[in-house]
């Protein structure tokens, strides 16, 4: 696909930049640290490679910003675009948090109220089969949308419609990310392979 290859290129460039930045800072790093850095730079590269400002990308960036250690990396990576985007993302994060809090409160109160309702409903045994099935289906859907919200970054403050859209974007970019990383890894392996052969010889 045209767009996916373009995306891949951008992602790769940014990722390499990020790796360079983070590796130039410290000399020795733990394995886990290294992994985290790699992943972080990959994520941020992914988020910024998206030209359209999707909300999940903003959420990713802003979450990374929170972590003080990583802000340097982030800001350097994002470069000139950063001020606007970061501002946006920080504002978003704040509003998101507020919304999430309010929603939680609401949910708790509704849940308690709903418990009473459910008890009442169960008493009325007039629940037909189809209703039962649909309620079960609805519950399943709700559960799964909750899970999906947790998975997609920044997804907690979205309604279903936009959640699905964000999920689509996110899936696409994840695919790209995985592809690029895989090929990088494979290339590195080949290099090492050759090296080893040389050494053995």
């Amino acid at each position: 696909m045209y767009t996916s290859s373009m995306l891949k290129k951008e992602f790769l460039n940014k990722w390499i930049k990020g790796l360079q930045i983070c590796c130039s800072s410290k000399n020795k790093m733990d394995l886990m640290e290294r992994k985290k850095k790699i992943k972080l730079s990959a994520d941020i590269a992914m988020a910024s490679a998206n030209k359209t400002a999707t909300s999940w990308s903003n959420a990713l960036i802003s979450e990374a910003k929170k972590n003080k250690q990583d802000t340097i990396l982030v800001s350097q990576l994002l470069g000139s675009k950063s001020p606007l985007k970061l501002q946006k993302s920080t504002n978003m994060i704040i509003s998101i948090h507020k919304r999430v809090q309010c929603k939680k409160i609401l949910k708790r109160s509704c849940f308690n109220a709903g418990k009473r309702m459910m008890k009442k409903k169960k008493k009325n045994l007039g629940i037909s089969r189809s209703n039962f099935a649909t309620t079960i289906a609805k519950r399943l859907v709700k559960k799964r949308t909750k899970v999906l919200k947790r998975l997609v970054p920044g997804g907690e403050s979205m309604d279903e419609v936009s959640l699905i859209k964000e999920a689509m974007d996110y899936i696409l970019s994840l695919k790209v990310q995985v592809d690029v990383m895989r090929s990088v890894v494979a290339a590195a392996e080949v290099l090492i392979d050759d090296k080893l052969l040389k050494l053995v010889e």
Binding site: S5, K8, K9, L12, N13, I16, L19, Q20, C23, S24, L31, R34, K35, K36, I38, K39, A42, D43, A137, L140, V141, R144, T145, V147, L148, L151, V152, E160, V161, I164, K165, A167, M168, Y170, I171, L174, K175, Q177, V178, D179, V180, M181, R182, S183, V184, V185, A186, A187, A188, E189, V190, L191, I192, D193, D194, K195, L196, K198, L199, V200
Partner: protein, 470 residues
């Protein structure tokens, strides 16, 4: 279904389902399939003639058996006909495609066959509105045709202006349908019915056309309540009530979906709410609409307050997007239902995320010391070969001997081997790959943790060839 039977036989020049025969008379057999098979009928001279004759014969058969009409008005009508056909062809091509109209659209020429007669002399009864009366047998097919045609026509506003320049004397029995195609307004399913049924009152084709054009012009974006519509609606609704509701609803669903889509496209959008005054179960909507609303219409037999309308719009949006998601997530084509789809999506996202984690871990392991070298390597690569490999999904880049890597370490070797194995398994679904990696991840991590930089460790990974002792 007869309709299906017809479409299946479309490609077959000779076979025509019984319904066609019964409806359209025997003489058409050879002609009809020709015009249907040729989808580019709008531009070719050759086809217009058999087309016309086909049309005329199609139309004439149910009402009368006279077939003398066909080529009588070739001359000027021919040109107009072709023009009309061309426009309709454009409409057909450019109109929104919903699944059902796709079915109809397979023979989009088919419906346009019905459309064109508007311009042409032949008796156009087509009983498309009149299905109840004249064609008792074939209910469903005209429905489909109607929906396909109507929706397609309605999607093109410019068509409005291509009204019949030539008044064509239409025999009394055939006026009904002629108005139908002229409804350029986007949301005019009902008013089309109204107006077509209105036209019943106007035996003269011209005035019928004019009245309709007038009303449509005056409508513009809004829909006028046609006072006569009430009485006539019942007529048409009872007519349609005879036919299967099930067929209607999907039609309207289709047209609804289309409408909501076209509404979203950003033409002037209006919201139409159903008034309780008009029979609430009807589809009619009063045009109360201030602008900048979403055009929605309630379906027959459904609640009409704004909440449920909005709900339905929302649901349609969601299902639309689920369809897109189906394309993204592999293996979701056969699944139906939100819950199952969501489950698949969740699994997919999770596995992708896990893959990213694993890959980053792998990278970290591969280069325990020399990330710098990695960058050097990568930048030297100029990304070109890298991208090539990416594009080909071929994991073997050209060897670069720049790596100043210190010493091979067993985790590396083990990883390489696993990497080669994994490459082959990459082709398969993500589930398998992730499972595979999941199993290996633990072993890899263990070895990775056990020694970061120490070289002399014999991995138990079964890497017979690449054991290195340092």
């Amino acid at each position: 279904m007869e309709k299906d039977g017809f479409f299946n036989n479309e490609g077959n020049g000779m076979g025509i389902p019984q319904a066609w025969n019964s409806i359209f008379g025997m003489e058409l057999e050879t002609q009809v399939p020709n015009c249907f098979v040729n989808s580019n009928w709008d531009n070719s001279m050759d086809q217009s003639d058999p087309f016309e004759s086909a049309l005329s014969s199609i139309v004439s058969s149910p009402v009368n058996s006279h077939s003398g009409i066909p080529n009588s008005n070739s001359g000027g009508e021919n040109m107009v006909l072709k023009e009309l056909i061309g426009r309709l062809g454009i409409i057909c091509n450019s109109g929104d495609i919903s699944p059902q109209s796709c079915i109809v659209g397979n023979s989009s020429s088919n419906t346009s066959c019905y459309n064109t007669p508007l311009n042409s002399p032949p008796n156009l009864n087509l009983s498309i509105i009149d299905h109840g009366n004249s064609i008792p047998r074939n209910h469903q097919f005209p429905h489909m045709v109607e929906s396909g045609k109507l929706s397609r026509v309605s999607s093109n506003q410019s068509f409005k202006t291509t009204e019949f320049p030539i008044p064509i004397p239409i025999p009394a029995s055939d006026k009904k349908l002629s108005r139908l195609s002229l409804i350029p307004d986007n949301k005019e399913l009902d008013s089309s019915m109204e107006e077509s049924s209105l036209s019943e009152q106007y035996p003269n084709g011209e005035t019928g056309i004019k009245s309709q054009s007038q009303s449509t012009y005056s409508n513009g974006r809004k829909r006028k309540v046609i006072p006569k519509g009430n009485g006539i609606e019942t007529h048409s609704s009872t007519l349609s009530a005879k036919d299967s509701k099930a067929v209607e609803e999907p039609e309207k669903e289709v047209s609804d979906a289309k409408r909501s889509k076209s509404g979203e496209e950003g033409n002037g959008i209006e919201k139409e709410k159903e008034e309780g005054n008009l029979k609430p179960t009807k589809e009619n909507a009063k045009p109360e609409p201030p602008k900048d609303y979403i055009h929605v219409r309630a379906r027959r037999g459904q609640a009409t307050d704004s909440h449920s309308l909005a709900e339905r719009v929302r649901r349609e949006k969601i299902s639309e997007r689920m369809k897109f998601l189906q394309d993204l997530v592999p293996g979701c084509n056969k699944l139906t239902g939100k819950a199952v789809m969501l489950d698949e999506i969740i699994n997919y996202v999770q596995s992708l995320q896990r893959q990213v984690e694993f890959l980053s871990m792998k990278l970290a392991n591969i280069n325990p010391r020399t990330d710098m070298n990695m960058e050097a390597v990568l930048s030297k690569d100029t990304h070109a070969s890298m991208l090539n490999t990416m594009n080909n999904m071929d994991a073997l880049a050209q060897p670069l001997y720049v790596m100043a890597h210190n010493g091979p370490q067993n985790p590396l070797t083990s990883m390489m081997h696993h990497g080669s194995n994994m490459k082959s398994s990459q082709i398969d679904g993500f589930g398998e790959a992730s499972a595979f990696w999941g199993n290996d991840l633990q072993s890899v991590v263990q070895t990775g943790f056990s020694q970061n930089h120490g070289p002399s460790f014999y991995g138990t990974m079964g890497t017979g060839q690449m054991k290195v002792e340092l």
